[in-house]
Structure formats: C-alpha cells, structure tokens
C-alpha cells in the first residue's frame, strides 16, 4: 500500500511540477507584470514596489525567475493579489473549503442516487423505469452546468423553497453556531443538487452497464448455484465488482465536476474558488489566477490519488499487481 501510494505521489509531483511551469510560462506571456499595474496606483509607494520586485525576482532572466517562484511556492507563498490586497494563499485558503463542501456534497448526492437506481434499473433492463432513467441521464449529460444552474435559480425564484444566492443570509448577530450551520446547509441544497444532477447521467449509465456485465458473468451463476444468500451475492459478488469502473471514473469525472462547480458558484454566488477565479480574471489579478489554476490542479490530483487508493482497497487484483 505505502509503496503504491509513494509511486503515485512521485508521479503526481512530476505532473504538478509541469503545471507550475505551465502557469509560470503563462504569467510570463502576459503583457507586463502585475507590478506595472501597481506602479500606476498612487496609493502604493515605489519602495513597496521595489521590494516586491526583488522578492519575486522580476526583471531577472526567465529561469532565475522560475527558481524564485518555486522557492516562494515551497514556502506556501503564491504571490500577492493586488485586487484584494492580501496574499493569494490567504484568499485560496478561505475559498477552498467552500468549493470542497459544494463538490463533495454533490458527489455524495449523485453517487447515493445513481448507484442504487442503476442496480435497480439494470435488474429490470429495458423496463419502463430503466428506460426513463436512461433518457433522463442522456439529458443530464447534455445540459451544460451553467444552464442547469440558471434553471435551478429560476426554480428557487418561482417556488421560494430555497434561499437565492450566497452561502449565508444576513442573520442576527446573536445567532448560535447551530443556527448558522443550518443556514449554510439551506444555502447548500440548491447548488449541490444542480451540480449532482449534472453528474448523475454519466454515473447511472456507467453503473448500469457495469452491473449488466457482472450479472452475465459465470461466477454469478456459480454463486447462485452454490445457494449463497441473496445478500451475500449482492454485496460480495455483484456490487464490489460493478463499482470498480466507477471508482476509476471518479478521478476523471472530478475535473468536470470542479469546472461545473465553478459555474455553479458563479451563478449562485457561492463563495468558492470558481467565483474567486472569475473575479481574478476580470480584474487581471494574475497571481490570483495562477494560484487558482494551481489549486484546481492540486484538488484534481488529490482526487485522483484518493480514487487510486480506494481502488487499491476495493480490488485485490490491483493490490497484487503493485
């Protein structure tokens, strides 16, 4: 286990290094650096600019600058956001938990709904239930997340069931922590539901075909023939085998999920990474944009690692190979 994880980690580190380099090249490409914009701001003294220039090694040759940038990154320093006037790492540390909360809730909802429904649908393949869910998942795959979020917003407005926008309402200052948590959860429902609805389709279709394939395997017939109890057959034979491809998919789906979460955040005003990034792009806050790109990559890579580890725990064949 440890060896496999270490192998994955070293591989990931290489990819991460590539992304750091990529984002650095992108920053280098941008016309001017962020200091040239700061220099126009009369509120910032030339001394501050000079010290920042030295700190980030601006004006030095390309590779020296890259070394400076790497050294700063190793110290957890992602640069300075000139639109918020705080270090980028502070901003990201504030926003990442919110994005994770939204994404994880959506993952739990989508998997919690798609897996049982897919097993149910596959057992009555071609039935009305199965066919209607299949068409529904076709739609779910085809509706872009931003449109889905807009429709969710419309629903909230028409019915008044959900609070609109933001992550918390203006509560009385005396509200207890329990009340505040409840408020946050109420705001979480609609964004996470729309996000989950978008990833339901892929999950349903994959789980369904996976269950169908396992059902047709000889070992299922053998298990039946041995007279094993239905519950044992279901959990140990059917489910464990069928869920494997989905765990692999999780890593791949996560990228789409994070992008979708970004759109959802922007439309519902959920204060996560996506909204932060959009603001950063709009105000040309380069360090913040690149910090966001890096953070997005880190989240995705960690998700992949998690999926690998899950697969390792679930599938003895994978364990033997490594």
């Amino acid at each position: 286990m440890i060896r496999a994880v270490l192998l994955r980690l070293s591989h990931m580190l290489l990819v991460l290094l590539g992304i750091i380099f990529l984002s650095f090249v992108m920053m280098d490409f941008a016309p001017g650096d962020f200091l040239s914009q700061m220099a126009l701001n009369p509120q910032i003294s030339p001394r501050v600019i000079a010290s920042l220039k030295e700190q980030y090694g601006l004006g030095l040759p390309f590779f020296t600058q890259f070394v400076h940038w790497m050294r700063a990154l190793l110290h957890g320093n992602l640069g300075y956001s000139f639109s918020y006037h705080v270090p980028v790492s502070d901003l990201i540390a504030q926003r990442v938990p919110m994005t994770l909360l939204l994404t994880l809730t959506a993952v739990i909802i989508a998997w919690g709904a798609a897996l049982p429904l897919a097993v149910f649908g596959a057992r009555r393949e071609g039935g009305l239930f199965d066919r209607s869910l299949l068409s529904f998942s076709y739609l779910s795959i085809s509706v872009p997340s931003f449109f889905l979020a807009l429709l969710g917003l419309l629903l909230a407005e028409k019915t008044g069931w959900f609070p609109i926008g933001g992550a918390r309402s203006a509560l009385a200052s005396g509200a207890g922590s329990g009340e505040r948590l409840l408020d946050l959860l109420r705001h979480l429902v609609l964004p996470s539901l729309t996000l989950a609805l978008g990833s339901f389709g892929v999950l349903y279709r994959l789980m369904r075909s996976s269950v169908l394939e396992v059902l047709s395997q000889p070992f299922m017939t053998a298990a039946r023939g041995l007279g094993l109890r239905e519950r044992v057959i279901f959990w140990r034979y059917l489910f464990r085998n069928a869920v494997n491809p989905l765990v692999t998919l999780f890593g791949m789906e996560l990228g789409g999920l994070l992008s979708g979460a970004a759109f959802t955040e922007m439309i519902f005003g959920w204060p996560g990474m996506g909204r932060l990034m959009l603001h950063a792009v709009m105000t040309r806050d380069l360090y913040l944009v690149m910090g966001g790109v890096l953070m997005g990559a880190v989240l995705l890579l960690l998700g992949n690692l998690l999926a690998d580890m899950m697969l390792y725990l679930l599938d003895p064949r994978v364990r033997e190979r490594t």
Binding site: L150, G256, L286, A297, L300
Partner: protein, 344 residues
C-alpha cells in the same frame, strides 16, 4: 466514400439529418434571419413573440405598442403591416462575398416580426440565435480540426515511437488534463489583453479549447496505435521494410478512421459548451456579436428571467446541439461497419 444516399442517411440517423439541416440553416443566416443580429429597436425592449396573422390581403404582422414601460407590458395596437416574402430588407454581405438585401421574410417598420421575442435592445432573438448557432458550428468544427490534428500526430508519434518520446508526450497530456478545464481556460484567458476584435477573440477561444482538447484525443489515438501495432498485418508490413510513414498512412490511419470519426463527433459538444460557457461568463465573444452563451447570459438576472423567459431558449439550443452530436456519435459507434470488423 462509396455509398449511396440511403446508406448515408441510415448511418447518420435522424440526429445526423437534423444536424445537417441546422447547419445549412445557420449557413444562410443572413438570408433566413428577418433582421441583422445587431438591428436594434430601442422602443421595443423585451418584446414578446409576434407571429404573423391572417388579415386582409394575406399574412400581416401586428404592430406592438408598449403599454406599461415599467413592467414592459405590450398590447397589439390594432395596426398591422403586411408580411412579405423574398423581399428587400437590411443589406448584408453573405459569407463576406455575396452582397444582397433579400430576406426570406420581412415586415416593414413600425411592425416587427419577433418569432421568438426580443431582447433588451429590441433585437430579434430568432435572428440572433441563427447567427449564434453558426458561430457555435464554425468554432467547434475549427476547434475540432485543430485539436484533432494535434491529438492524432501526438498520439501516433507516442504510440509508434514508444520509449522516452512516449513517456514525455503522455506526461504532457497528463499535465493538460490535470487542470480542471474551466480553470485552465480562465488562466489562458487572463493572459490575453482585453478590447480585442471579435475575430481575434474567436481565434483565442478556439485556440484555448483546442489546447485542452488535444490531450484526451491523443491518448485515444495512442491506445489505438498500441493495440494495432502488435497485429500481424502491421508486423508484416514492418518486416517487409515499409517506412514508418508508409506504415502510419497506409496501415494504421485507415484502420483507425472509424474510431477517430466517433471520438471526433463525441468531442464536438465540449467545444460548443466550452465556447458558450466562456461567452456566458463574459470571457468570450462580446456584444453585439451573438453567441449562444452571451445570449443566455442576458437572462442571468431573475428580473429578466421573469420578464423575458424566452431568452432561455439559447440554453435549449445548446442542449439540442449537444444531444444531437452525442446521439450521432453513439449511432456511428453502434453501426457494425467497415473498420469495426478488421480489428475486433
């Protein structure tokens, strides 16, 4: 391709036929749209749909009157203007070469034909959707062409050369795929200056989307090359002294074309949605040029959604295009045709 029209139609199915029709429709947007995409009527903000009616002497278009400017309530004023066909309207230059002012239908001012309603500036939504759909088609085809070329070349080289070349190229594609697409798009968008012409923006969006799209395609191609190159006909070609170019162009590519066609078809929706998403956020094509994304962006506020829900139709059009391309891809994959049999 040596096949009759019947075979072709059976193969592409209803979704293929609909896509071709939509493509042709958008190609002739200048002629088919009653108005230019930027023809404004400031006196008719968020005008509802106005359809032709039967009147004296043929079809007529009722003239709208703004009854309540605050709530934007419209009534039919009772006046009408005749609806004419193949008439002279606003002048245009189709595809940049054909100068004309003929339109399929027009209604003379003060009447105005709103088949699907209008937007804040009184521009005709139907016309804007036609132009926007054309933009989606052109951009996604161009984008697919670029990412497909890069992806095929990279996948071929990686799969065929193997070793370090393979490792480096695949790490490169992993780097691209390890960043959530929207994050990478925003990163790329932030380094180009604002205030560019719409042509430049189009190229930048297409370029950014292709820069992301090639990665997954190259992995598909590499997998195909690897699975094919162990097979007898490739081994014998190599043994017979065929050059790598000959092996690739004569043996590998022809055997892969079917799979490539399927994966290209299935990758088009990503371009349509990617462009629409960027334009929706205001990072893509900007006003007055219509894109399915920036039309949808107009209906972002709850107030607009209430007073002009028809603007959401652009989202519906995106969904339709994506569904059709997905269906077409699935259909192509299912058809047991050539290529399928040769290496299964």
């Amino acid at each position: 391709m040596r096949e009759g029209a019947g075979t072709f139609l059976r193969r592409v199915g209803l979704s293929g036929v609909m896509l071709i029709l939509l493509g042709i429709t958008s190609l002739f947007a200048e002629f088919l749209a009653p108005y230019r995409y930027d023809a404004v009527r400031f006196d008719l903000p968020y005008a509802p749909a106005v359809w032709p009616e039967m009147g004296k002497g043929g079809l007529v278009v009722p003239v709208l009157a703004l009854r309540d400017p605050v709530r934007r309530r419209y009534v039919k004023s009772g006046r009408t203007v005749p609806l004419r066909f193949f008439c002279r309207g606003e002048a245009y230059t189709m595809w940049g070469i054909i100068r004309s002012s003929r339109h399929l239908v027009c209604a003379r001012s003060p009447g105005r034909l709103y088949l699907m309603g209008g937007d804040l500036f009184g521009r005709d939504l139907f016309s804007r959707l036609l132009y926007g759909m054309r933009f989606s088609f052109l951009l996604s085809l161009l984008g697919v062409a670029i990412s497909f070329s890069i992806g095929t070349v990279v996948g071929m080289v990686a799969g065929y050369a193997g070793g370090w070349t393979d490792r480096i190229l695949m790490r490169l594609s992993e780097i691209v795929m390890a960043v959530p697409a929207l994050y990478l798009l925003m990163g790329l968008r932030s380094i180009v200056p604002y205030g560019l012409s719409s042509e430049a923006i189009t190229l930048i969006i297409t370029g950014s989307l292709s820069l992301i799209g090639w990665a997954s395609l190259s992995r598909v191609v590499r997998g195909l090359v690897l699975s094919l190159s162990g097979r007898d006909f490739i081994l014998s070609a190599v043994a017979a002294g065929a050059s790598p170019a000959r092996v690739i162009f004569r043996h590998l590519l022809p055997n892969m074309r079917y799979y490539l066609l399927v994966s290209v078809t299935l990758s088009i929706p990503a371009f349509i949605v990617g462009e629409a998403g960027l334009s929706f956020l205001g990072l893509g094509l900007s006003e007055p040029h219509p894109s399915l994304g920036n039309i949808l962006a107009e209906s972002q506020s709850l107030e607009t959604m209430n007073s002009a829900p028809w603007l959401l139709a652009s989202g519906g059009l995106i969904v339709l295009l994506v569904v059709l391309f997905n269906r077409l891809g699935d259909l192509l994959r299912e058809v047991p045709g050539e290529g399928n049999g040769s290496h299964r």
